[in-house]
């Protein structure tokens, strides 16, 4: 599926999770190679949290297979030592201090780098001795990320880590994350409902909508595979036959198409343009939001 020789850190096949009658995740097949910072993008309720919890072994799938770092997620020390997980609500013990959390980590993990947390917090001016409940949201998120990184995990799973942060805290958080990832050997999957939050740091994308995977791959490869066509209002059946139509906007005067290319486009009536990551994501999300027409349904089926 991907032109990549890096071994996969995350590999799922037809993964599903149902909560009673609600399908939280359906037929999800993704691969995230080692060393990527992958953005898990999707509207609220798309299944991002469910996917992350399944990958961390906090929830069990109702169908399909998962391999994370080569094994099925399970609650045992060997597996857990390899992953770092940060839940959306940033759960920490509110009455305990950062120093207490560093000690907890030292007690619960065989591999633990408490010094890095101390240094990071001192650098950010976050008090070590103060109850975590009295810290600001940004400080708590920074602390939680530092604690998660102190395990020296090979895979970091972060659920909407910047959703509650103001722009400055968001920037600091992502800078901290990018710095950690630059050290090498770390793969990151982090979710957001806004692409703009993550666009700057991610080089891989998983797009979820309506509990299904819409898109998964390296950002550069995805951008190269897709193209925008702008032309007069005319019949586009020929283009749709040769390529995969993702999204179309038709006004009385012009037609704008987002296509997944199967070879070169040879229709002189259309001007081609490179697609931006945002246009790509909005195209796939918009396709889902519009309610897919039969043609689009087959297009999705072809993708996955």
């Amino acid at each position: 599926m991907m032109a990549s020789s890096d071994p996969a850190v995350i590999q799922t096949r037809a993964l599903s999770k149902r909560y009673r009658t609600v399908a939280a995740l359906t037929d999800c097949t993704i691969t995230v190679p080692e060393g990527r910072i992958s953005a898990l993008i999707g509207p609220n309720g798309a299944g991002k949290t469910t996917l992350l919890r399944l990958l961390a072994g906090l929830a069990r799938p109702t169908g399909g297979d998962i391999a994370v770092l080569g094994t099925a997620p399970r609650p045992d020390p060997a597996f857990l030592a390899g992953i770092g997980f940060l839940a959306q609500e940033i759960p920490l013990y509110r009455r305990m201090s950062a120093a207490d959390h560093i000690r907890i980590g030292a007690h619960l993990n065989a591999r633990w780098d408490g010094t890095s947390v101390r240094q990071r917090l001192e650098g950010l001016g976050i008090p070590l001795g103060q109850a975590v409940g009295t810290l600001s949201g940004g400080q708590r998120a920074q602390l939680a990320l530092a604690l998660t990184l102190a395990k020296r995990p090979r895979l970091l799973l972060l659920d909407e880590p910047v959703a509650a942060l103001d722009p400055l805290a968001r920037r600091q958080f992502l800078a901290h994350l990018a710095e950690a990832a630059a050290g090498g050997g770390l793969t990151v999957l982090l979710s957001s409902h806004l692409l703009s939050d993550l666009e700057r740091i991610c080089d891989h994308l998983v797009l979820l909508a309506g509990s299904r995977v819409q898109l998964c791959g390296d950002v550069d490869a995805l951008l190269a595979e897709h193209q925008i066509l702008v032309g007069p209002r005319k019949d586009t059946t020929a283009i749709e036959r040769d390529h995969t139509l993702v999204h179309a906007v038709r006004t009385p005067r012009q037609t704008t198409l987002l296509i997944r290319r199967n070879g070169p486009v040879i229709d002189p009536a259309f001007e081609t343009a490179d697609v931006s990551l945002e246009e790509l994501v909005l195209g796939y999300m918009g396709q889902h939001a519009d309610g897919p027409s039969p043609a689009h349904l087959s297009a999705i089926g072809g993708d996955q």
Binding site: L58, L80, P91
Partner: protein, 331 residues
């Protein structure tokens, strides 16, 4: 992990230790006073040969102290509410379980250590309170011979330890199943109180087959002497051949004697207006006998052991439920 358990619960531990220390001081001071009061009373009654009346003439303790002793009935329930209920529920509710369960520790070990310490603390605390109450009560027990009475049996000996284990296990299981603290606490209180009442009232009297003694009916209705703190289950009068005293064998007059309805044989009817005290000898002559059904005093520790065993088994079952729920369910 033990450090985390201590860090999470040390404030509760300090409060519990302080409360226990305060309780111990009150028990030790008043217990010593009461013991010396009892011993001097024994010496003076021996001199005047009035020791048989001591139970009615000597007043040990004070209403406030007995209220305090009765309040220790609540100790297991409080432990279940403050230590058991939040143990798992609060972590699920606040999401900190997700933090703990993504450190490099298995969920089963996390749970085992938390549950282990909570149960150990409950047993130690419940045991300490029970030991103090048992020691404090020894003069009262010796004087009143009512060790089996509800309110004494339930706060002395080994049963309070078992109640504490059960209450904490109940709190943990309720929290694991309901995943929310407040409903878990309400469930703990409700189930604990209901089960304690049902077992004490309907099950406990039947742990062992009660002993029945029959004896001759007489006007003063003297009871045969039964040694020690026996537990009276029932007492009354039986008709000839063991049939019920109120049986319709005679269509005579019904009278209530010491709480038993007795249908008088026709021969005794006339005594009712002429010489009522003679009814007893008349009934005795017609084969009526008085009886008492009781659990002998020497079964006290057997009863303590059986009841403690029942609650310990229930506690073990609830711990098993908690383990299954925590390991099987998604976080």
């Amino acid at each position: 992990m033990t450090w985390l358990v201590w860090r999470q619960h040390r404030n509760q531990a300090y409060i519990a230790a302080a409360a226990l220390a305060l309780f111990a001081v009150v028990m030790l001071i008043t217990g010593r006073q009461m013991a010396s009061q009892y011993h001097s009373a024994l010496i003076s009654c021996a001199a005047t040969h009035t020791c048989s009346d001591l139970a009615t003439t000597l007043n040990l303790g004070s209403p406030v102290l007995f209220l305090l002793i009765n309040l220790t009935l609540l100790v297991p329930c409080l432990l279940g509410v403050f230590w058991g209920g939040p143990l798992v529920a609060r972590e699920l509710e606040t999401g900190t379980a997700q933090f703990a369960w993504t450190q490099s520790i298995s969920r089963s070990r996390w749970l085992a250590i938390k549950v282990g310490w909570a149960m150990l603390a409950a047993a130690a605390w419940g045991g300490a309170v029970s030991a103090l109450v048992t020691w404090w009560s020894s003069p009262v027990n010796a004087l009143q011979h009512q060790n089996f009475r509800a309110g004494q049996f339930d706060v002395q000996g080994i049963v309070p330890v078992s109640y504490a284990l059960f209450a904490v296990a109940l709190g943990i299981a309720a929290g694991a199943v309901l995943r929310r603290t407040v409903p878990a606490l309400a469930t703990t209180i409700g189930v604990f109180v209901a089960l304690r009442v049902v077992i004490a009232s309907y099950v406990r009297p039947h742990y062992m087959t009660a002993v029945t003694k029959t004896y001759r009916l007489a006007f003063a209705h003297p009871m045969p002497s039964i040694p020690g703190s026996y537990w009276q289950v029932s007492r009354g009068i039986v008709g000839p051949g063991g049939q019920a005293a109120s049986s319709a064998a005679h269509s005579g007059v019904g009278v209530s004697i010491n709480g038993t309805l007795v249908t008088l044989p026709p021969a005794c009817n006339s005594l009712l207006s002429q010489d009522p005290p003679k009814i007893f000898s008349c009934l005795a002559a017609h084969g009526y006998r008085a009886f008492i059904t009781y659990q002998p005093a020497n079964r006290y520790w057997a009863f303590q052991g059986i009841e403690a065993g029942i609650f310990a088994l229930l506690a073990a079952a609830l711990v098993a439920v908690s383990v299954i729920v925590v390991l099987r369910r998604d976080a």
